[in-house]
Amino acid sequence: MKKCKYCDLLVKTDRATCPLCLNPLSEDDGVQEERGYPKRQSRPLDKKSLFYRAVVFFCLGSTAVSVLVNLLTRGEDGPFWFPFVAFGAFYAFMLFRTVVLKRSYVFRKLAVQLISASVLLWGVNHFATPQIDWAMGYAIPMLAFAMNLVLLILSLTARHLYREGFGAFFLSQLIGVVPFLLWMLGVDCFRAIPSFWAPLTSACLSLLVLLEAFTISGRTTKEEFKKRFHF
């Protein structure tokens, strides 16, 4: 214990000066005091956030450079290849963000993967082989099918995953229906999807899963809906 004669009070400290008036404190009375607070250290560097910023820089940088190089070096009728880099960078970023960085719910991670992989596939398809719509016709519905099968099995075996990732679960089922809807509507921007088997299979599974959610798992589903939509 030390004393500040200017403030007229005792200070339990190893400081040399009074914490209030900054005048020198009297000599210690020798009684050993335990520390009330951990010693100050500089705040540990947030490695994750540093790494995150590096990844953002890398993704944006590679896209920007490829746009520039592509536009400057492209001949009269040369190809535009920068979209591949851009889609790749976007996918790499999403992959990093959800899988590595954010400790999120399992279902949400999977749904984000499904969405970003679909965007990547669609982009590559659109710019590399625009003659045939293999992404919407096969790749995306098959991917959605596989993902939704996994989600169904997980949701039935680990109930808490379903409860946590409820929103992502439904979003993923909706994505499973999209290619089939586009085929049915014959939307222009997607041109004709070559075959409807893959989109149909994926849509059927999604519909069955949704049916399951509202019948067999009806109680949990109702409860989760109530939580999320209560006002």
Partner: protein, 421 residues
């Protein structure tokens, strides 16, 4: 709890207004007489959380509101960080809205305000320390003061504000601007702590002399000190110094709820160095007595409850609500408080348990607009006044403690590391 619940009325504002500078956290710390065993503390926490199901929750985002959902994971204990009240990362903490820490012989509980208020947190920490001491092999009679020993009652989960609400009463949502303390902030979110303790008998004598309560005395002392540090107020000098004083109203409305249930009294006095301390006490006493009357504070509480009952507001999606609430909060509520003084009073610790506990400290977190705040507890014949500060200037603290010593009160200070190297 039916697996999930709405945030209580007072808690709704915190998730959307929280950020690095306004963490909406507060901390309670028990200093034991022997070093803490982390393994036993973890075991005690696992036992205690099962009894306090109301805190065994995590915060989730719905379409229209946030909600609290039962947390299936177990809370963990952490070594205390030198960075007091550092933000609680949901994923790093298994989703819990509180953090239990240990350091030498100290057990700390830092809580996000959406979960509960000081009273609720104190009940939890008391039960935790009680369970811990029992695990250490000490036989203690709970004397009916430890919630953990009684059965959990439905009332603990209740949002008592809703019970209180009377739609017929006229509401009051006006806020007056206050002068705001500004200074040089610690760089890395550091909070400086200066805790002063004064023997309670000596203190009692002084407040009897001034014929006021502890809270009234402390508010007056702060107002008096604020008048002597005009350089801390810069541009807002012309506004009154307004002390925000949360008051626990559980006794008044006979409820056992463990969620937020307090009202706010606010004093408003222009800082004037010519006003004597005795006059300050008189002014504060008048204002607090006036503001504590039902007809003065109920309209304010009702005002908050009413805004959450407006149908059009309820059906607005949460992200839009957040934008609106943040804007309103920044413009009105935050500008209305110069300083927050929270007096938890006597924690009510069983006599048999007191010999294992040296002191009980309450740290009230700092915010952007009110960078210095104070938490008060009485324990073991002493009054502990803990000033937590996000700025390096310590003039207000100096004036405050010098006022106390000037009145003949023996003050002992304890601080964390205040200087940056």
């Amino acid at each position: 709890m039916k697996g999930w619940s709405d945030l209580d009325n007072a808690a709704k504002i915190f998730p959307c207004t929280s950020n690095e500078e306004r963490r909406n956290l507060f901390g309670l710390y028990f200093y034991l007489t022997e070093p803490v065993d982390p393994a036993l503390l973890a075991e005690a926490l696992e036992n205690t959380i099962e009894r306090f199901k109301v805190f065994k929750v995590r915060l989730r985002t719905g379409i229209f509101w946030y909600y609290l959902e039962e947390n299936r994971r177990m809370p963990e204990v952490f070594p205390e960080s030198p960075y007091l009240l550092s933000p609680i990362e949901p994923y790093a903490n298994n989703g819990y809205l509180f953090r239990v820490s240990y350091f030498e012989n100290k057990i700390g509980l830092e809580v996000f305000h959406s979960l509960t208020d000081g009273y609720g947190a104190m009940q939890f920490l008391k039960a935790l320390v009680y369970t811990y001491l029992r695990l250490c092999g000490h036989e203690i009679d709970p004397e009916g003061l430890i919630r953990g020993e009684s059965e959990s009652v439905f009332e603990e989960y209740q949002d008592s504000f809703q019970k209180l609400y009377d739609a017929g009463v006229k509401v009051d949502t006006s806020e007056k601007r206050a002068c705001l303390i500004s200074g040089t902030r610690y760089e890395d979110g550091w909070l400086g702590v200066i805790c002063g303790s004064v023997p309670k008998d000596a203190f009692k004598k002084v407040i009897t002399e001034y014929d006021c309560s502890y809270t009234q005395f402390l508010t007056a002392a702060l107002t008096w000190s604020a008048a002597r540090v005009p350089h801390l107020f810069r541009k807002t000098k012309k506004y009154p110094f307004q002390v925000f004083i949360p008051v626990d109203i559980r006794k008044r409305f006979e409820t056992k709820t463990l969620r937020n249930f307090s009202m706010v009294v606010r004093t408003s006095i222009l800082p004037d160095p010519k006003v004597s301390f005795a006059d300050c006490v008189k002014l504060v006493k008048e204002q607090i007595t006036e503001a504590s009357k039902d007809e003065a504070f109920l309209p304010r509480v009702y005002g908050n409850i009413r805004s959450e009952k407006i149908f059009l507001l309820r059906i607005v999606p949460l992200f839009l609500k957040n934008i609106v609430m943040r804007a309103v909060y920044n413009r009105l509520s935050e500008r209305a408080n110069s300083f927050c003084l929270s007096n938890l009073g006597d924690p009510g610790i069983p006599t048999g348990m007191q010999k294992y506990i040296d002191r009980v400290i309450f740290s009230n977190g700092a915010t952007h607009s009110a960078p210095i705040n104070m938490g008060v507890t009485y324990y073991g014949g002493k009054v502990y006044m803990t000033m937590t500060s996000a700025i390096m200037e310590r003039d207000l603290q100096k004036q405050f403690f010098r006022l106390l010593t000037g009145l003949g009160l023996p003050v002992t200070l304890e601080t964390n590391d205040l200087e940056t190297e």
